[in-house]
Subunit: 364 residues, 2 copies
Amino acid sequence: MELTNTSVLNALRHVDDPDIKKDLVTLNMIQDIEIEGNKLSFTVMLTTPACPLKEVIKNDCLKAIEEHIGSDVEVDILMSSHVTTTRDNTPLLPGVKNIIAVASGKGGVGKSTVTANLAVALARQGAKVGIIDADIFGPSMPTMFNCEHEQPGIRKEGEKNLIIPIEQYGIKLISIGFLTPAENAVVWRGPMASSALKQFIGDTEWGELDYLFIDLPPGTSDIHLTLVQTVPVTGVVLVTTPQKVALADAQKGLNMFMQQQINVPILGVVENMAYFTPEELPDNKYHIFGKDGGKKLAQKHDVPFLGEIPLVQGIREGGDIGYPAIMQEGPTSDAFMQVAEATAQRVAIRNAEKAETKKVELKV
Amino acid sequence: MELTNTSVLNALRHVDDPDIKKDLVTLNMIQDIEIEGNKLSFTVMLTTPACPLKEVIKNDCLKAIEEHIGSDVEVDILMSSHVTTTRDNTPLLPGVKNIIAVASGKGGVGKSTVTANLAVALARQGAKVGIIDADIFGPSMPTMFNCEHEQPGIRKEGEKNLIIPIEQYGIKLISIGFLTPAENAVVWRGPMASSALKQFIGDTEWGELDYLFIDLPPGTSDIHLTLVQTVPVTGVVLVTTPQKVALADAQKGLNMFMQQQINVPILGVVENMAYFTPEELPDNKYHIFGKDGGKKLAQKHDVPFLGEIPLVQGIREGGDIGYPAIMQEGPTSDAFMQVAEATAQRVAIRNAEKAETKKVELKV
Ligand SMILES: Nc1ncnc2c1ncn2[C@@H]1O[C@H](COP(=O)(O)OP(=O)(O)OP(=O)(O)O)[C@@H](O)[C@H]1O
Ligand SMILES: Nc1ncnc2c1ncn2[C@@H]1O[C@H](COP(=O)(O)OP(=O)(O)OP(=O)(O)O)[C@@H](O)[C@H]1O
Ligand SMILES: [Mg+2]
Ligand SMILES: [Mg+2]
């Protein structure tokens, strides 16, 4: 077969994106085809910078060219990415492609830890990432990103004062912790907390972002309601630990987002603190908090399981010193990277399959 | 010295309650003196059924009788207890002597676990104990007391419907978990949650209790404000784990209760999940969540340290199966018992030293 633009596209129509289950040409993922003699180069524009199937797709492309055009073509494929979105023409957060809520129901299961590590993981893969710390009463982001003493700038835009997020490790961050003294309790009733969240969404200069993570507090109350009523959320990452009392609350969290009036897609479940392995006994797994609870919850509700993270002192230390564990190479960062890849993948699939989430109109 | 009512009382005036630092006679703790020949018997009425100094006080009494009356007296001392209170003539919860809030700021540090175990510990020592599960969005008491499927009865009293608490292991319990299906999320804004708490306080048949524990949710918002505005709280048990991100929130919790307008006494700090020891390495302590953070927090704020509880799989399992760890003999239940004793002791000291907590008049 002759090597032309058309023959290349026809060949690549035989390659499917394994997640979205449509071919790369239909998905508009083949770009910049260049042909010179028997030399071919093109770009595969993936839907996530952290695509776990990058190599699979590349190999499938090579095979398709060989099979449908010929084995004498010299092929050079550039794997790049362009994060997809369903958020078009939205007045709030217009430059933000995906809003990912990290939730649980239960307290202390690692929502903030997972948020911090996923955000850094995706930023390191080249994505533009931000975090809203929506935990007004127990903000963790300033500590987890070692920027407790930072103060966000303010930029006047017409009548409006825009908050400029703090930047750390390539992530844009906003937290009530930057605006109030660390030791003081914020003793507010719900409406005050909700209006702080609204400011973080509407009056903050987020610019262009591929992923904006929302680190939610425990529970299913004012902050959660205000979030889904203010802005269409792309999807939810549900964090749980394996034990029954945590699963009971995680279940409530799931049900909140899945209920018909709210209907925010669940990207998947992360099982945190899955087991502890002492350095001296590398083959032992102590299931202090139980076993497989998160996996079973995902199965029960037929939502994806994004992976498990063991209980590791380094993860806690990373949180305390403000240097997320993902930034140190080793099995722990591998575990977080897998969850980050799975999350980005689920966002891409969700964007390919589902329409934009609707902002919730609830009378509460 | 002749053995008479008066000589006995005079002798016992030399014995101080080591906590309250006043003598037993002044404190009205000597009762039922009986004399027959050289036989003397009396009752020491302690201020807590779980008094860790029981033996010390008993020995001090024996020594005082010997020293001030003579060594030929045959003494029989009955150690009993009568929990003290500063709550007199209160319209709400009139039969409840002490209201103990278990709080943290941070989620998942073990507030509910500590509540359950302290309550059972004190009940086993003979105290009358109740628990209000004030975590409306993540109630844990039904699971932790293995009574998830119980439904409280209702008793009509005049116009009012009184909720009858569930009883388990000798503890009276109320929780939103008894009133709503377990899987459903309670998606309420603050005022609804607050009115549930008010019902648990005002419309529930608590009867006579020595200690009513309030298991608080994380944060410092509606439920916390409603509690201190509805009823004068005897004191707060602050639970924290040792790491920085938990201490930051625990600190906020402390500050909330200590702030001048609220001013609820802090009974002390409990450090939970202090370290993990694998069965195979009984001499190793893994400080997964850090070391001594709770102790240091107590020192910094000059409040009592009530003790530390290690990270033990059996504690988690006890929570999941609804059989609090304190009910199984061993080092774990010893640790909880110590914290329970220290807490009861602090309540007695607080009642001896301080006037009743004022209900908070705050405009929030
Ligand atoms: N896999 C892990 N291994 C070790 N420590 C962990 C792990 N995950 C979280 N932690 C630690 O556990 C504590 C609780 O985690 P984190 O603060 O992220 O939970 P959370 O769900 O955000 O809590 P909250 O409900 O209070 O917001 C933190 O100190 C964190 O560093
Ligand atoms: N010392 C301990 N050792 C092992 N597991 C523990 C210990 N203390 C608490 N746990 C477990 O940790 C989990 C969190 O504890 P718990 O639910 O009591 O915390 P909490 O502060 O009440 O959480 P929330 O903020 O969600 O109300 C539970 O599964 C509990 O069984
Ligand atoms: Mg958090
Ligand atoms: Mg709890």
